[in-house]
Amino acid sequence: MLAVENRIFSWQGIPKSSRIILISTMMVIVFITPNLADGYYESSWNPVEINTDNNYNAVIIDEEGNAWIFGDGGGIIFGENIEQWTQVNSPTSEDLTTAYANEEMIVAAGKNSSIIYKEYNTDNWIEINIQNSLDVNAISINSNNEIFIVSDNGEIWCFKQQNWIKIESMVSENLYDIVFEGEKGLISGSSGLILGSEDSGESWEIRETPSEISDSDIISIDLYGINRGYAITSDGQILKSTQESLTTTVGYYWNLKEIESENLSTSLYVNLTSIEVLSTTKILLSGEGGYIALSKDGGNIVTPQLLPIKSDFTINDIAMKTAFVGLIVGDNGTILYTENGGEDNAIGFEIIDLSDFSEFVDFTKDNLWEGLKATVKIVIFGILLGFFIGIALAMCKTAPTTLKQMIESDLEKTMIFFWIITPITIFCSRIYGIGLGILALSSIIILMSVLNYNINKNNTDNEGFLGYSISNKYRTIIIRILGFTLLVGLPLNGNWEINGGLLSIYSAFSDFHAFHLGSDTYKLSAQLGYIFAPIGNPDAFFRLIIGLGLTYLGLLFSSSKGDFSKKTIYYGKLILVALFWLIIVTEIFVDSNMARNDITTGHGILTTLGWRILLIAIGILLTKRILPEKLVSTTKTSADYNISIEPWKIRPLRTIATLYTDFFRNTPLLVQFMFIHFGLQLGKHIQNIGIDISHDLSILSSYLGPLDNILSPIIDYITESLFGPGKRSYLSAIFALGLNSAAYQCETIRGAIAAIPSGQMEAGRSIGLTYMGTMRLIILPQAIRICIPPLGNEMVNLVLNSSLASVIAYTELTRQGKLVVAITFQIFWTWGMVMVAYFVVTWALALLLRRLEEKTRIPGLGISGGN
């Protein structure tokens, strides 16, 4: 290792305090800050101070908008306009447990046959006597102003024309609640019983209920218009009934609700006491243990709401005056009213005056701060990813390893690569998935390199592989066999089949042909549609490229005679020219039968003629360019017609790196974002891989005993913050930015490497360092200092390009800006603040880079060597 002071970026060179600050800031930003500030909520229920601890069992809002609360011991409380509360004289001292009000009167009832009523224009409550002694569970009034009560043991009584008449229910279950809407009536009871009536309560029939609740008590039931019916069981389940068809109205079919917010369980695990339906989809539920919950989507998501004081007293009843104003009552003097529909108030969304700039800033600064943090997160990872991949690419592009070296000097390693490493990787991927395939590939390569290095350390002569080398007389034959296998592959069955070059090309072309993107004529221009074929079948495209490469290598190897010099294609130039003319002639003369994808379909004779003249002109120019000046001349030798190529000079690493950079530099970043996130769904796949890896790591750490207690939460935390739900766009953004930046940084670094005098490489190699060694120890340290300014440029680009991540729904700064504009409509201010934020970030980065440049200055290197 280089001496500490001489490393490019000396870690120990930074004072300790700064190091700590740097590391902790990065960790905080990346891991600890939660995404999206949670607002805090406060209860929208306000207690009513009555100064009694009585248990309140029922509450109703009457037609005049006043509230009546009924409790144990016959207690009645009157709330005028739900504002002035007074206790009222009650004619009974029995517990009152249920009440109802319509336009004519208010009724209440409870234990021991206590039934009272009051008409609106009077002040007094009057008792109604009923001959039997029973505890009234529920009381209601139908559309004919007849009072109905239900009780245990299937008893239904109706008070009409001053007399109590028992209604035949034909059931013996305890009946808990009764509700009327028009001529419809519903009764709920124990053992999952629901009775329905279509004649205002004269006759009742059993309605079907789900078998799951056949043991539960349906303690409350409510209707909303003729569209919706809801019922609850004491086990915390919600039943819903809708109008099933034109002929089946509400109340006939009841379904048990699978509550999404309880992971699709049918139970809320709370003993519910009452339900109030505010609209077709908005319901309030009350229950034991101070439970009050709101659902705005018909019971899919049920959210418990906060109470102002932590109370465990059972909430017994709910009454809503409007959708927003209402009361709940419960044991132990609990009376609460709300003006917000019972929904928790989210602090931070209060109505503020956004045209005042300071209030605007106050309101939006959280959003923008979150956006800034999100931007910094993807920028950091993007820069790191881009830098390391960029260096790797730059080294691949400048690597001098030619094909000749691979075959001549390193034949053994090349053989192992093609015959052992590649097949193993392919089989692993096919059987166990790509992840394991990549793992197998890397571990084998690392293992073999290390072994080889150690064994060959001090050999000057033929190093071969692991000490074994092929003797000279067999080398050429082996090369030919290698070539042959590359062409043909391993055509076994199923998982054990590996297609060689020729078969890959053939299968790729047949797949492409299946798309029928070109017409059947023999013209080149008619087949232009095939340019899109790779998108139609990316797998086939991949196979095509690999097939072409393998065929090239295969042909080259199998025809090798042991010499690696250039090859001559005799009369190659003539052949080339003839080929061009063939194409031109087919273009001109083969009929275009108005088929699809044919670009030369004439729009008129002049246009067609124009095309043809143009093609002929191109042909003449090409001929003059390729062939020597005079086609027939006595002084020209046949050698002038030959094309000589150097097939062994190709540098495979350079080719691969070039494919990568050409793809990323020739497509726009915005399109790359969308392709990677929506097309490839890279974020999703990486998230899955990450979750798998962390799962394996957790299992691994569980074997480590006590160490597990420290490791497990760390693993879980890192997994959550990197691969948790909702992190898909985060991962996609990092990769899109990083991979794109790598292509540009590669070119920058390559330029910097080329700026280092070649003598440095010579000097390094002449003391015996390998190519990689010289690169790592001598060239790159100097090159990186040279490329700091252009890389700084690249990083600033990356920060600004991160704004494109907003199209894949990653809430970084730009997207937050959009959200803020949508909420506040202050366009100038919002975008102005966003611009300032970006400026600050990039400026800070530029300052950092300036400082880095100064710190890593080498005396004598670069223009700024002196003063």
Partner: protein
Amino acid sequence: MNKVVLDIENLEKIYPGGVHAVQGITFDVKKGESVAIIGSSGSGKSTVLRCINRLIEPTKGTIKLNDEIINNPLADVNEIRSKIGMVFQSFELFAHLKVLDNITLGLRHVRGMNKEEAEKSALEVLARVDMLDRTEAFPGNLSGGQKQRVAIARALAMHPEVILFDEPTSALDPELIGSVLQTIRSLADEGMTMVIVTHEINFARDVADRIIYMDKGLIAEQGPSTIIENPKSDRLKQFLSSMNEEK
């Protein structure tokens, strides 16, 4: 009879494009011998030197180091190069490392020594070239002569079988040449095997055991240092007279 360290036979190098830089050179270097190669520019001297440690691949011919052929494609190039030291005309010190680290780089990464051993070795070698006072300096802060001496130390530190010098003093001004030449002379006196390509005729005459005069890619004349006083071939006479005129 000293054993032959370097044996070069029929070395030929044709650059792509058809330039015949070296057209068939044969000579050998025995242990402890210093051979000077002189000649005008373009005669192929530097090419020969670079072919020896395979910085340039010869198109024909064999090069043997201690009776092992080193220019076959299967040989381990890096091992070979670590046994052949090279000193360049433009010094080629590693600008981002201090003087001491320039020397220890090879020792630590090629020979595998640890830091202390490497530094000890480096200091010994730096003492031989008389550069102990500037071990913590960066190359950018050194004069030409000092840089070249460090370069020599760097090559020496690897304990090579033979050191090649590619016009070591051509980039220096006259005052600084002296110190470098002195260093090389003392190395020769200590018995180091070396091949020096140089323009300093007097130095070649004083230090070298044998002088090779190359012209247009071929060895025009070879012999002990007396050929400078008594050149046999016409071309050498012409060359020497033209060098003398300049002086």
